[in-house]
């Protein structure tokens, strides 16, 4: 069920990412059924829904890790449903993971550099010889990461640290840094503030807004923190049991009875609506 508001609002530009009737089934289990929505360039879109709704499966399908059993995905106007994951990364699909997926055998800097992999040109012969193209490329990469990413995310003090030694909050930030290194046009963040306290959440929210403002990156995020969702997003998509049950601007979605029912079951919907509104208020006041 889509609200007409969503349809009309950003119909000017074509969507950067368009998901059309995507279905994903594992044997008898349907993770996604007929999921469809668009992500406008330059927007922050949030995908919300109760646990098990299929949000991460959706991300994995867009990333190319799962192949949908039906439907299509279009990115920058191109059909990417059959394109392998590494190529999607090269096209500008950046990603961070729900459970931190940093590479424990490498330092922070190397993890971030890895994000740029698909855009680098060094081949194995260049690498073995190193002096020459590999050295130049690595130096340019290092400069770029230091000046644009490490500085931006304020992680210069830990750049040489092994990632396994970092706190959870810092690891999440390194994840973000790595995703940024991918030179993404769309940044898919899977629960970027999961497990963070108030301060860390606000920092991350600030980073996300800055990323959009300074880098022009479109953001698509899965999130449970309703304050953050209502506060940051231009567009919200609600999933439940693998289906889109509502989408639109935050205020409209918030008021949608279906959404309330999805999270809390059919109970007193008025009370629930009030609860949702109350949760959104302090976040909005704090950011303003």
């Amino acid at each position: 069920m889509e609200t007409t508001l969503a349809r009309g609002a950003h119909s000017a530009a074509p969507p950067l990412l368009q998901v059309d009737s995507v279905t994903l089934a594992f044997g008898g289990v349907r993770a996604l059924s007929g999921v469809g929505f668009g992500v406008q360039p330059g927007s922050i879109t949030a995908v919300i829904g109760p646990n098990g709704a299929g949000k991460t499966s959706l991300f994995n399908t867009i990333s190319g890790f799962y192949r949908p059993t039906g439907g299509s995905i279009r990115f920058k106007g191109q059909d990417i449903t059959r394109i392998p994951a590494p190529q999607r990364a090269r096209m500008g699909l950046g990603r961070s993971f729900q459970n931190i997926a940093l590479f424990r055998g490498m330092t922070v800097l190397d993890n971030i550099k890895l994000g740029r992999h698909a855009h680098l040109k060094t081949n194995v012969f260049d690498a073995l010889f190193y002096m020459g193209r590999a050295r130049r490329e690595e130096a340019a990469l290092r400069r770029d990461i230091e000046e644009r990413i490490i500085d931006f995310l304020e992680i210069d003090h830990i750049r040489h640290a092994p990632v396994s030694a970092l706190s959870y909050g810092l690891q999440k930030r390194v994840e973000m840094a790595r995703a940024l290194a991918m030179q993404p046009e769309i940044l898919m963040l899977d629960e970027p503030v999961a497990g963070m306290n108030r301060e860390e959440t606000e920092d991350m929210a600030r980073f996300i807004l800055d990323v959009r403002a300074e880098w022009g990156v479109t953001v698509l995020m899965v999130e449970h923190d309703m304050g953050m969702v209502m506060d940051l997003s231009d567009h919200v998509v609600v999933l439940n049991f693998g289906q889109v049950i509502a989408q639109g601007v935050p205020a409209v979605v918030q008021a949608d009875p279906e959404v309330g029912r999805a999270y809390l079951g059919s109970g007193n919907v008025d009370e629930l609506r009030a609860k949702l509104r109350a949760a959104a208020q302090p976040a909005m006041a704090g950011a303003a």
Binding site: F26, T56, F59, N60, S63, F65, F97, Q98
Partner: protein
């Protein structure tokens, strides 16, 4: 086309396939319970064969004592292995345990060569030696009786996994140790049990295989065919061990008869490559769905 010959060869193939299935079962038991790939399965088989040799030939114990003694001793070996080199690596990446089993195979071969030298030995005869005839086809009696024993144990294990709650416990600990712990399954005990059972099955297999072809320190090469069997059948499938075993037994027998003895192993590996290309998780293995 000599159909009688083909039939005879196939019969031998299927029977020896039963032996492969038994050894494959030993492998699957450990993998099903602990997710450990035991590359040393062939060497454990060899250990069983040599233990039997020690008890029956060197110490001249009567058969009804020597066979159980060898099986139990091998089971003890399995327990020691699990306790000293598998359990300490519980949280480590699976590649580490895998390499430990590689080291184990080397240690076992070395030990066997030290104690019993690298010469081939013959095991005392204990199986009925009347030739088995199926119509006009001849089947070597040892191979036949070996296959019968194998079939009995395979059936027993299949039933155990199906109906005994211990079988379910085995599968639970493999898929999630922490969860298994929390529902009251004694995980370390299950691990030990799996390794002991596997070692005992390997010993039985080793005794039979040794009776047929003699024992030697290079007997572990049998394990290579067993590895192919479990890949064909599926690493965690008991049924797969059975079907895979028979298939490989058949392939090797046919290759040996029509192409020559040196081509047996080659034929097995061709099957390996085909399976890896076509159905990498094996005929009956569970295709694990990874989550990002």
């Amino acid at each position: 086309m000599d159909w009688a010959y083909l039939f005879e060869i196939s019969l031998t193939g299927i029977a020896s396939g039963g032996l492969y299935a038994l050894a494959a079962l030993a492998f699957v038991m450990v993998y099903k319970a602990t997710r450990v790939v035991n590359i040393a399965i062939g060497e454990m088989l060899m250990a069983g064969g040599y233990l039997f040799f020690t008890f029956a030939a060197m110490w001249a114990l009567p058969l009804w004592l020597a066979i159980p003694a060898a099986v139990l001793a091998c089971g003890l070996l399995g327990a020691v292995i699990e306790r000293t080199m598998i359990r300490p690596l519980l949280g480590e990446p699976p590649i580490s345990v895998f390499m430990v089993t590689v080291g184990l195979s080397s240690v076992l071969i070395g030990l066997v060569e030290m104690v019993w030298t690298a010469d081939q030995r013959r095991l005392p005869e204990f199986m009925p030696s009347d030739p088995i005839m199926v119509g006009d086809a001849f089947l070597a009696p040892k191979v036949f009786w070996g296959a019968v024993v194998a079939a009995v144990f395979i059936a027993a294990v299949l039933l155990v996994f199906r109906y005994w709650r211990g079988g379910v416990a085995l599968r639970a600990t493999a898929s999630d140790q922490a969860a298994a712990y929390s529902v009251g399954i004694n995980v370390p005990r299950v691990f030990s049990l799996a390794w002991v059972a596997s070692a005992m099955l390997a010993a039985i297999s080793g005794i039979i295989v040794g009776s047929i072809g003699g024992i030697s320190s290079s007997m572990g090469v049998f394990g290579l065919s067993v590895l192919v069997v479990v890949i064909v059948g599926g690493l965690d499938s008991v049924l797969g061990a059975l079907v895979g075993g028979i298939l490989i037994g058949l392939v090797e027998a046919l290759a040996g008869a029509y192409l020559g003895g040196e081509y047996k192993l080659l034929a097995t590996f061709v099957v390996l490559v085909v399976i890896l290309m076509a159905r990498p998780y094996g005929l009956f293995g569970t295709h694990e769905i990874e989550r990002l």
